[in-house]
Each structure stands twice: as structure tokens, then as C-alpha cells.
């Protein structure tokens, strides 16, 4: 690689070379790009299966304790959930735009869009924090920790176990996503991306859309349907 860079006579030329950022075991940049994208898609499949287990648990316990689920879901704050849904969908939109601007060599625009995405993610977590503290205050907690008194149906703790597990694991994904977005934001600042090499931006974008997608299922199931 370094020999090639010298042969091309400087950093700028390197970035424009079709071999830029190609690891030694790939024959060309396209193969590497395809491989990376395929890897990310496969990873997203595993994520869906991870959440799939929880969705199964939700379906099973919902059919088992239907009245309890209906009663418990009234204790979730639809307004806050709704705001978070809008916030996350917006962040997905800005993420998609960021990928596009990275492809078009618009570095400043990319930075701005990634920063907005980050801000949305942070806002999502702040809203989530208020929701969680409200639940904890009311004793609406999983299983054995459930202490809220005024429940007519049995086993609302199961609903809150699933609520906290699903939103909690989703929240961890949001935090990881923020880290990844910050990482590509910093790399973007260092001029690492161009129309020839933007794979990390696109791949983080794919991940972020999945995080958004999971929430799009979580919100109606937990907040609206119950």
C-alpha cells in the first residue's frame, strides 16, 4: 500500500486511487465494499433474531395474561413514546441523508447531519430516562420487584419485565449506535471519507436504521396495543 501511495505521488492521489482502503486479501475495492455490506446485513439478521426471542416471549405472555397486559400498558406514557418515535424516525432520516452527502463528498454537510442524528439519539435517551424514572417511582417494575398496588389483574410484573428487557436492550443499542456515529463523525472530520470510500458511513447507517426499525415495532406493541 505504502509503495503504491508513493508511486502515485502523494495523499490526494491515494484517495482517488481505486485501490484506496483495499485490504491485501481483496482483489478490488468493489469486492471489499460488497463483503463489508454483506457482513453488516448478516449481523442485522442476528440482531433481529435476538429481539425475535423477546417478541416471542411478548406474544406468549400476552396471550397467557391478556387482561394484565391491557391494564399494564395503560401505565405507559403514549405521548413520550410518540415523541421518541418521531425523534428516532427523524434521526433515521438524517442518517440516510448523511450517507448520501458522504457519497457526494460534502464533508461539512455530512458532519452536520451526523451531529443532528446524534442529538436525536441523545434526546431519545433523555425521554427514556424520564419514562424509566417515572416507572421506578411508581413501582412498575419487573416480576419480583413490582410494588404498584392498584392493579386488578394478576402478573403485571411480567409485562414490565418484557417492557424493561425490550426497551432496555434497545436502549443499549441506541448507546452503541451513538458511539458508532461519533466514531464516523470524527473520521469524517479527518477527511477519511469520499465518494470512493464511504463504506463505514453506510454500514453504521444500516445499523442505525435497524435500531429505528426495532423501535417502530416496540412502540405500537407495548404502548398502543398492550
Amino acid at each position: 500500500m505504502s509503495a503504491k501511495a508513493e508511486a502515485l505521488g502523494g495523499a490526494e492521489e491515494t484517495k482517488l486511487s481505486p485501490q484506496f482502503h483495499v485490504a491485501h486479501h481483496f482483489d478490488k475495492a468493489d469486492t471489499q465494499f460488497d463483503a463489508g455490506r454483506m457482513g453488516v446485513w448478516l449481523f442485522l439478521v442476528t440482531e433481529i433474531l435476538l429481539f425475535g426471542g423477546l417478541f416471542c416471549a411478548f406474544a406468549i405472555f400476552r396471550s397467557k395474561y391478556f387482561p394484565s397486559f391491557v391494564e399494564a400498558h395503560h401505565h405507559l406514557d403514549r405521548v413520550m413514546g410518540g415523541i421518541n418515535t418521531i425523534v428516532l424516525i427523524s434521526s433515521s432520516f438524517t442518517m440516510a441523508l448523511a450517507v448520501r452527502s458522504a457519497q457526494k463528498n460534502e464533508k461539512k454537510k455530512t458532519t452536520l447531519l451526523l451531529a443532528i442524528t446524534l442529538a436525536c439519539a441523545a434526546m431519545f435517551l433523555v425521554v427514556k430516562y424520564f419514562e424509566y424514572s417515572h416507572k421506578i417511582h411508581d413501582g412498575l417494575l419487573p416480576g419480583g420487584n413490582f410494588t404498584a398496588a392498584d392493579f386488578a389483574s394478576g402478573h403485571p410484573g411480567i409485562f414490565f419485565a418484557i417492557y424493561f428487557m425490550m426497551t432496555g436492550i434497545h436502549g443499549v443499542h441506541v448507546v452503541i449506535g451513538m458511539g458508532l456515529i461519533l466514531w464516523i463523525l470524527l473520521r469524517n472530520q479527518k477527511n477519511e471519507f469520499s465518494s470512493r470510500y464511504y463504506a463505514p458511513v453506510e454500514n453504521v447507517g444500516l445499523y442505525w436504521h435497524l435500531v429505528d426499525l426495532v423501535w417502530i415495532y416496540l412502540f405500537p406493541l407495548l404502548y398502543l396495543v398492550g
Binding site: 463483503a35 442476528t46 426471542g53 419480583g144 402478573h155 418484557i162
Partner: protein, 545 residues
Amino acid sequence: MANTATVDELGHSPEVRGKNYLNQTAGVWSWLTTVDHKRIGIMYLVSVLVGFGLGGIFALLVRLELLTAKKTIMDASQYNQAFTLHGAAMVFLFIIPSIPASLGNFFLPLMIGAKDVAFPRLNLLSLYLYWIGAIFMLAAIVTGGVDTGWTFYVPYASGVSTTSVISATFGVFVMGFSSILTGLNFIVTLHKLRAPGMSWYRMPLFLWSLYATSIIQVLATPVLGITLLLLIFERAFHIGIFDPTLGGDPVLFQHFFWFYSHPAVYIMILPGMGVATEILATNSQRRVFGYKAIAFSSVAIALVSFLVWGHHMFVSGQSELSSAIFSFLTFFVAIPSGVKMFNWLGTLWGGSIRFTVPMLYGIAFLFLFGIGGLTGLFLGMLSVDLHLHDTYFVVAHFHYVMMGSTAIAFFGGLHHWWPKMTGKMYDEKLARVGFALTFIGFNWTFFTQFILGTRGMPRRYYNYLDQYQPLHAFSTYGSWVLGLGFLITFICLARSLKTGAPAPANPWDSATLEWQTQSPPITENFEKAPIVTLDAYERPAEETA
């Protein structure tokens, strides 16, 4: 040396002669930071062998305790920890990563003519995750042990056991990610990095089995991840999902667990089948019979494996209809397995068979997998399972499949590829002695357990009825022979590193690509990127003429 040509018979120029991936760079740090799939494969190999040794010691302790009907060397709680750790170490530290992560990592890129796997750094990350998971599991041993059985059934594991369940399950959770990332890496590598001319149907069948394995790893392991996470939260915070007193469902845990762990059985056996195919093809000196049938049967097994988890639960209290459906589907795993068996025999037919050490393991694989597979039919039958479920019959059956088939294939593969990996030949005589003792000891130990099982001896019993004592003692004696066999095999292989003759590039006269480079290979695998013009296992025309 005077008349050495500039390029030797393998086309290696003088610059690379004497250089290989082992001596390219030196020092521990160069190994720990390597992204070379071969070095990562070797580190996995050493790690899984340590795991095997650990699980093996626990196995010998368990067998020793069962020598007498009451206390022999340990008390009941120590015994429960011993069999749990035997199972957990063998399943999670040894068998699941054994063939894919060690032999697979080393040979998958070589066999498709690639320089490395698609994501070399991710590959190293997988290894580190495996180590971190292993450390958590070992930490569980020293901080109170684990006594739940490797299946971690609730509510015992979530509420009653006083041992370090969280540390052990967290270790398995972390190792799950290692498994997922390895599978993901292999799938992408097979799709994107095949050498020019290496079409799917020209790939060695070992790679088809690894492909099927990787699909299972990617699709099933996340479910284990979420299951163990729920178990950890259940134990730490009483979230109630699995706790019946809080409205949870302990049988749900079993569904979740076996949704992963049944496919995981095929994560364990499919690579073994692949290794056996390579050994049989090489030592029959002919093209594999029914290439596509073997390739597709691997994929078929992978797909069917997702539909049969409920056969672990015929007596668990799941609905009768579910049990009937699961039983029906279970029998369809037998079909692709049978197809493989017939095609392996077809490969021997009309061949030119050499009884090298790997071939002995290959033939032993056919024998032991035959027994292991056929005894599975008993357990798939609903009515017969009522009697045999959770008895020693099950123990014998899965040891024939896991140990008799997978571990034997693993050691066969180790002998097969040892010259390529280390550049050394081992002492064939000693290796044969090791093999013979392993084979005899294995059947001695485990065939006995079929008899114990049908006579009603339950699994995981510390004390047992006096009437079972003679058979138990007989089985224990067998385990000593088995242990001795493995010990000799280890000594034989370890000794070869020091005293072994240098290995030629292709000692077994094999047709696959990994033998077309020097032993051990150079870091870049091939000096010139290979271009494949022959079908799988096909030899150049002048050789077959």
C-alpha cells in the same frame, strides 16, 4: 543444493522457500495481534485442546465417582459440579469452536485459494471474545463452581442453585458472540473471496459443511444470547419471565434453550461430517461420490435443524400436538444423514484405499456415526422416548454423535492436516496405537451405557441402585483406556513438533487446494493467486490416466 532450479516443483521461488507463517515474525505479541487466519486458527486449536483436556479431566472424575454405587471420591455437590463443568467445557469450550474455529479458520481460505478470511480483524476479535467467555467460565469454577447441568434449566439455575451461575452463563453469552462472528466471517468469505474458477460446486465438501454450520451459528446463537440474558436477569433481579411463582414459565426457557441448542448439535456434527468427507476422498484417491447430494444434505440438515427442537421436550409438559409434530419432523433429519452415509460408502467403492492414520479415524467415524445416528431413531419415537428420555441411553447416544463422530473427526482432521499446519510428520505407529486405544476405549465406555439406559438408569445420578454397579464399573474401566488413548495421541503429536520429519507439501497426495502450497504455508498462503480449472477432487489428467 547446487543444481536446485530457481523454481521448485510447486512453483515456489527461492525467496519464499524456508519462509512460512510461523517464522514470518516472532514473539508472543506478534501472535496476539496477528490477523493471519492461520495463526488465529492455531491459537484456537491450542485453546480448544485445553478446553478438551479440562472437560476430559472432569469426565474421568465423573466416571471414577460412578465406579461405586455410593460415594467413591467426592460428595454429591462436587459430583454435580463435575458433570456440569464436563458438559459446559466440552460443549462451549471444545466442540462448538473445535472444527470450525481451528481447522476451519486455518483451511477455509486455503481451500478456496484466498489470502485470508473476509474480516481478519473481526476474526481476531472472535478469538478474544472466546477467551473472555472462557475466563468467565473458568472464574465460575474457582468462585463456587456451577451445578446446574450445562443446560441451565430454570427454576433451579435461576433461583435455587447457590453456585456461580451468572459468571458461567455470562461466559457462554460472550462466547456466543464469538461463534456468531466466526460464522458471519465464513459466510462472507465463501461468497466473496473464492479464487477465480472456484465455483460453488468446485469447493471441497468440508466448506459446504462449514457454510451450513455458519448459517446455523448466525441464525440460532442470538436466541441463546437473549435466553441467557433473561436467565441472568432472572437470577439477579427476579424479573419473573421464567419464575412460576411470579407468573413466568419454566418450560418457555426450555423452548428458547433448545431452539438454539438443538441446531447447535448440528454446529457440532456438520463440520465433523465435512472433515470425514475430506479424509475419505483423499485416502480413496478418487472423486467424492454424490458431491451435490453431500453438499445439499449439509444445507438440508441445517434447515431441518431449526424445526426439531421440541424433541428434547416430549415429556416436559408441552402439548401433545407439538410433540407429535416435532417427532415427525425429527425423523427427517435422518434422511440427509443417511444420504451422506451412503455417499461416503460410494466414495470408497472403486477407490484405491490407503489406511493412513487419518483414514483410520475416517472409517471409525463411519462406524461410530452409524451407531450414533441409528440410536437417534429410538429417541425420536414418541413412545420409546417415554422410557429412554433422560436415561443413560441418551447419554450414550449423544456421546456417540458428539464424541464418537465429531471429536473423532476432529482428531482425524488434526492428523490429516497436521503436516500442513506444523510442517512436521508425526510417528505413524504411535498415532495408530493412540487411535486404537481411543476407539476401543470409546466403545467400551459408551456402548455399556446403552444397556444401562434401557435398563432404566437415570442421568445425572450420584448414588444409584446396586444392580447397575457392574455395568457402571465396566464403563469406568473403559474410560481409562479412552483417556490413555488420547494421552498417547497428544504425546505423539507434541513429540512430532520436536522430532518429526519435515512434511512435504502434499504428503497424502490429496487433490484439494490447501495441499498445493508448501507446508507450512507462507503468510500470504499462495505465492501466486491460484486459478482453479478442475472440479472438486479432480486430479490433473496425467495423474488419473
